[in-house]
Amino acid sequence: MTRFVLRRVLQGMFSILGASVIIFVVTRLSGDPVVLMLPPEAPEAMVSQMRERLGLDLPIWQQYFMFLSDAVTGDFGNSYRWEMPVLELIRERLPATIYLASAALVFSLMLSIPFGVLSAVWRGSWFDRFAKGVAMLGQAMPNFWVGLLLIIVFAIGLEWLPAYGADTPKHVILPAIALGWYPVAAQTRIVRSAMLDVLDSDYIRMGRSVGVPEGVLIWKYAFRNAAVPLVTMMGVYFASMLGGAFVVEVVFAWPGLGRTVVEALFARDFPVVQAGVLFAALMFVAANLVVDLSYGLIDPRIRNDR
């Protein structure tokens, strides 16, 4: 078991390293941050002086090694724009993004699991069609648009929920819906198709033949088997929630990392972009690792193979 974990952690680190190289190169291809930081009439001398101060005049491989050696000690440099340590910026904001992404994931499961299971159990019924419709709606609409719509209806129109911010637990509801609705369609399909397979299986029929009540058959004995393909995708879905969070955060003025990184991108604030992407990669790798380890919890056949 430990060997397995070690191996996966090593793989993860390589992925993150690769991501760091890519983002390092790409940001520097996107333009010159110094020109954006200084006022328009700044003399050339000032520009080159600032460039020197930020180390941007060095060859790119040298810049990368400096970045890497600092990063390993936890120093991600200072934001060009904010003049505060990048790590602090991220540390303050990452939890909010993780919170939102998790809430969105939970919301999506709150829809996709019942939809998927019941659509399979009542295959072809009006519920099956209804669930499909709701799921497809989420897939068809871009998340920022859903967010704006939710604000109009629930904040302005009905005045049930707040329009922005993150002060109370109520505040996460609308952003979580806006972010989490998109993957519902794909998740529902996975659950439904897995459930259909499982419901037709011999062991479910066996359970029925010994008198297990239908509800228990569906939710206990069948669902756990059908959950495996869904769990497989959880890492991917969490990563896509992280990515989608960036946009939703702007709509709802959610104090997360996404907004920070997007703004940093426009401002060519390299240290923030680099660190932001790196942490996103880290989240993704960690999520996948957790998913892999959790297979063993769900499917005992996999446990002993480690």
């Binding site: 996107s30 333009g31 010159d32 020109v35 954006l36 930081m37 200084l38 006022p39 328009p40 009439e41 700044a42 003399p43 050339e44 001398a45 000032m46 002086q49 600032m50 101060r53 724009r81 904010w82 003049e83 505060m84 910026l89 303050e92 904001r93 704006l148 604000i151 109009i152 904040a155 302005i156 005045e159 707040p162 329009a163 922005y164 911010g165 993150a166 702007v250 709509v251 709802f252 003025a253 104090p255 907004r259 920070t260 426009f266 401002a267 060519r268």
Partner: protein, 528 residues
């Protein structure tokens, strides 16, 4: 919403019981207002100010020697009076008397030492990105606690145009807490005192009860500034009562917001001046003045502003109405397509020509992308066939900026902007995009013009510290610039609209250097 109204009513009643709201600051202020801004300052340390947006926070807590007023004039502020001593015209001296009785938020009195300390910080290139603006000050002489003199190595009119540059920063406090401490808990002389901040979320301020200006000050105790970048969300927050005041109502939502009951709005011209820059450096049609004039006649700016911007823009000709060098006789070019076509033919392009037209898509001002597209579409009708190239902010800046190697515009058009501040003074802007490119001296860093006559005129005006003479010189430049359509065709100034809950908020718009979003006078309304 009703709960907030009730609360506000209770608080207002309390205020009324405690005494007149617009009275002396000595009475204890109460109550809280929440406002929402679309963008946020990156720093609260005036010496580290990098872009206009930083004024949003700095301007609430810090002050300068002079200050622009709501009526467009510049009045003495922390300076009781000041004058220019040009007994040696090549090395002028600015003589300043500080207003007595001004204190910082921590109680320390304001003295010349504090201004010298600020000067040193602002002149240090390792601290400030604008240190070059202090380059001409060769000595800061302290005469006594309330009297100091700035010795210049040569005439520098820009220094005056920039509100005498210096911010009042507390030397003793800074030395106690250090730069980082100061940046996290700033202390100034302004009407608002720092309370707390959550980066990217909110800034909490408290009215300073030792504030020196008894005539113009806030009338509410606590101010919470929230940051809501998304337009619709910000408007929604006002509608639901979650915030009491918002800035930047998007033009498309203006009708809707205005039609809300109990909402008051104020539209002010932003300090930003937009123009259509033309690359006259390489060989090409733009080098011909008739082509440039044709372009000026060929765009119906009024129509575009009305439809694309919902009327939220003001046309200007070179210098805006409140500005230094404003000439009421200089009118923006009227829309005259027939004349434009004629000019094109006279210039030798009866069939028109193809040209690259660069358009900014990042909405630094509302609907910039659509405005550019509309203008370029009009040009198409007079034969200037635009190949529209969209750029986002970073790429756009990089394209417009001159460097030693090339002028990347390749004889094309570029929608550009350069704020002239409030009130306007075009000196620095023209130094940047009208004067030819001289990298060593900092001239023309975004210039696509090469005209020696303009270079001379601009350098002359920037050294002229006598206000009347300056105005005359600037008018000269404006006139010539307008005729030749060089350094860009001036298009419009965007209007910024603020909106607030009229039954709850008592607000007077005040500018600070460059922008209107100053909370110099804001408070809770009392019940009559």
């Amino acid at each position: 919403m009703s709960r907030i109204r009730m609360g506000a009513g209770a608080i207002a009643l309390t205020c009324a019981l405690l005494g007149s709201v617009a009275g002396p600051v000595t009475a204890e202020q109460t109550g809280q207002l929440t406002v929402a801004l679309a963008a946020e300052s990156t720093t609260m340390d005036p010496a580290k100010y990098s872009a206009g947006v930083d004024q949003y926070f700095i301007g609430t807590m810090f002050e300068m020697l002079v200050k622009p007023m709501p009526d467009g004039t510049v009045q003495n502020w922390l300076a009781e009076d000041w004058s220019i001593d040009d007994s040696n015209p090549d090395k002028p001296i600015i003589d300043v008397h500080i207003r007595p009785g001004v204190t910082f938020h921590n109680g320390d009195p304001l003295t010349s030492e504090d201004f010298r300390f600020s000067y040193e910080r602002q002149a240090d290139p390792n601290v400030s990105r604008w240190s070059h603006l202090q380059a001409n000050v060769e000595e800061f002489e302290i005469v006594d606690d309330l009297h100091f003199r700035l010795h210049f190595s040569k005439p520098d009119a820009a220094y005056i145009a920039n509100y005498l540059q210096l911010w009042a920063m507390p030397k003793k406090y800074f030395e106690q807490v250090g730069e980082e401490g100061f940046g996290q808990h700033p202390v100034g002389t302004g009407p608002w005192k720092f309370n707390s901040r959550k980066v990217k979320e909110e800034l909490r301020l408290e009215a300073y009860d030792g504030y020196w200006n008894k005539d113009h000050h806030p009338t509410v105790k606590d101010l919470v500034i929230k940051i809501i970048p998304e337009d619709l969300t910000r408007v929604a927050a006002l509608k639901t009562g979650e915030v009491d005041w918002i800035d930047n109502v998007p033009p498309a939502m203006l009708e809707d917001v205005k039609s809300q009951p109990n909402v008051a709005t104020a539209a002010m011209p932003s300090g930003n001046n937009l123009f259509l820059d033309m690359d006259t450096i390489p060989e090409g049609p733009l080098q011909n003045v008739k082509v440039r004039q044709a372009i000026a006649y060929g765009i119906d700016m009024d129509a575009i502003i009305e439809t694309v911007l919902f009327g939220q823009g003001i046309r200007y000709a070179e210098v805006s109405k409140d500005g230094t060098g404003y000439d009421p006789d200089l009118k923006p070019y009227p829309y005259d397509p027939a004349k434009a076509m004629q000019l094109m033919a006279e210039a030798g392009y009866p069939q028109g020509f193809d040209i690259d037209c660069y358009n900014l898509i990042t909405p630094r001002e509302p609907n910039m992308k659509e405005m550019g597209e509309a203008m370029y579409a009009y040009l198409g009708t007079i034969g200037v066939r635009c190949k529209v190239i969209n750029l986002e902010y970073g790429a756009w800046i990089n394209l417009g900026r001159r460097d030693e190697k090339t002028d990347q515009l390749n004889g094309g058009l570029l929608s550009w902007m350069w704020g002239q501040s409030i009130p306007a003074d075009p000196t620095i802007a023209w130094g940047g995009h009208l004067h030819s490119y001289e990298p060593g001296k900092g001239w023309g860093s975004y210039s696509h013009v090469n005209d020696p006559e303009f270079d001379k005129m601009i350098e002359d005006a920037s050294g002229e510290m006598n206000q009347d003479k300056r105005v005359a010189k600037l008018k000269e430049i404006a006139k010539r610039k307008h005729e030749l359509v060089l350094g860009g065709l001036t298009t419009y100034q965007p209007l910024v609209t603020m909106a607030w809950n009229d039954t709850k908020v008592d607000y007077t718009p005040w500018p600070y250097p460059g922008f209107w979003r100053n909370f110099q006078e804001i408070g809770l309304k009392t019940q009559n």
